[in-house]
Symmetry: C2
Subunit: 226 residues, 2 copies
DNA sequence: ATGAATATATTAGTATGGTAGTATGCAAAA
DNA sequence: TTTTGCATACTACCATACTAATATATTCAT
């Protein structure tokens, strides 16, 4: 088992373990359904069981781990119902947020949005999908921040963990990468032009209700799904 | 310091501590801004510090506690910006959910909704505001469940913790109790009649954008607010 | 050979002691 | 009187030891 370690400095052991595990789960270095134990992680990361347990507790709360007392802990399977709910939530909120953004959006964040888009183009050309993924998340966060609704994005990010694993799977199959960047361009354009007329349509395309890609993922990786 | 203890049986010490503290915070038995320590809670609840620490971690994640390493832990102040965001989120989602509910709603849950409303009336007459508060939460949860979106409600409940403390403060001043029950009646009526025309208006009234009651609360309990 | 009873190993849950960082009070100096 | 240095107490963080529950392996009787 390989863990995607993160810098340990300037932070507590708990935070270090938490970030490492979270990253490992989302980028599928820890597989959905895989069993792990406190002891094992503690040894791998050279800490005691205590901070590991405490990181586990947070990850359970976010739905990324499931702990069974006296039995063990497993990485949660990807639950497509939960993904559907997360998408519904994002669709609904993002329409409302984008309408706000089209009314007014602070210029400094608009600049950051443009920069982010430019970087997305670069990553697309260079096929750097991991970085593109991070830019995607940052893109949406910027929009929420511009509307003073960043806490909502943080909350979405929690229920969205499954959604993120799906994204990683899709990226690994190279599904729909270019389209997403194009959609981001159009969404940003709507904000810059204060033009809310296409918001509904753009969001529906960006976060469709029925994603046919799901079926393919399910066929390719049946053991990852609940 | 008094804690609102909950039944301890059939659950872990961690869960027991967590539920007890959460209840105590929401019902303001632990005051916003108040300092608490692991040691102190452990002694009061007759458990060791470990399950207390672990309960603290969950409560920090939900925004109800703030821990400062080597300094201490305090009950979070009520943050009105956060409350505004929570309301925005609920307004937006609840409109969408209620539109779904007006299209179709399972009959067994419709029955539970009717029962819940009847109990709300009873509590209103008997001035049992604590129970009414719980029924209120259950009312909304039932609607989300009927639309197969219960996870979203669970998530809202997290960001909503501040919102719930506000409700408790309002109830203690007897603000707007009757109105809320009436609003619930109308919302339920819309679902039963499959009539979505007034949804927008009902939600705006139930979860207003600007609540003048806030100012009064702020005057009455300035030390509770950030 | 098979099944049940028992022993062993493994797990998360809990308790406890030590550590390092922080605040506080007091005494000494300015 | 005010400020500085220091001792003390207090905190959350972490490591470790122990407990209780579960799963697995082994033994023994049939």
């Amino acid at each position: 088992m390989e863990l995607l370690s993160v810098p340990k400095r300037g932070t507590s052991a708990r935070e270090y373990v938490y970030e490492t595990l979270k990253r490992s789960i989302i980028f599928l270095s820890l597989k959905p359904g895989q069993s792990i134990t406190e002891q094992e992680i503690a040894e791998k990361l050279s800490v005691s069981r205590t901070p590991v347990r405490e990181a586990f507790i947070r990850l359970v709360q976010e739905g990324l781990l499931e702990t069974y007392p006296q039995k063990g802990t497993v990485v949660s399977l990807i639950d497509l119902e939960r993904v559907d709910e997360a998408r519904f939530m994002r669709r609904t909120l993002e329409k409302a947020i984008l309408r706000l953004a089209c009314e007014s959006f602070p210029s400094d964040l608009a600049f950051e949005l443009r920069s982010n888009l430019a970087l997305q183009e670069v990553c697309l050309e260079e096929q750097n999908f991991i970085r593109l993924f991070e830019l995607d998340e940052e893109f949406h966060r910027l929009i929420y921040r511009g509307c003073k609704k960043e806490r909502i994005w943080d909350l979405i990010a929690q229920i969205n963990a499954d959604f993120r694993r799906i994204r990683v799977l899709k990226l690994s199959l190279g599904i729909g990468v270019g389209e997403v960047v194009q959609q981001h361009r159009e969404i940003a354009g709507a904000i810059f032009d204060h033009n809310a007329t296409r918001i509904e349509e753009l969001v529906e395309v960006h976060l469709p209700q029925n994603d046919p890609g799901f079926e393919r993922l399910r066929r390719e990786y049946p053991e990852y799904f609940a």
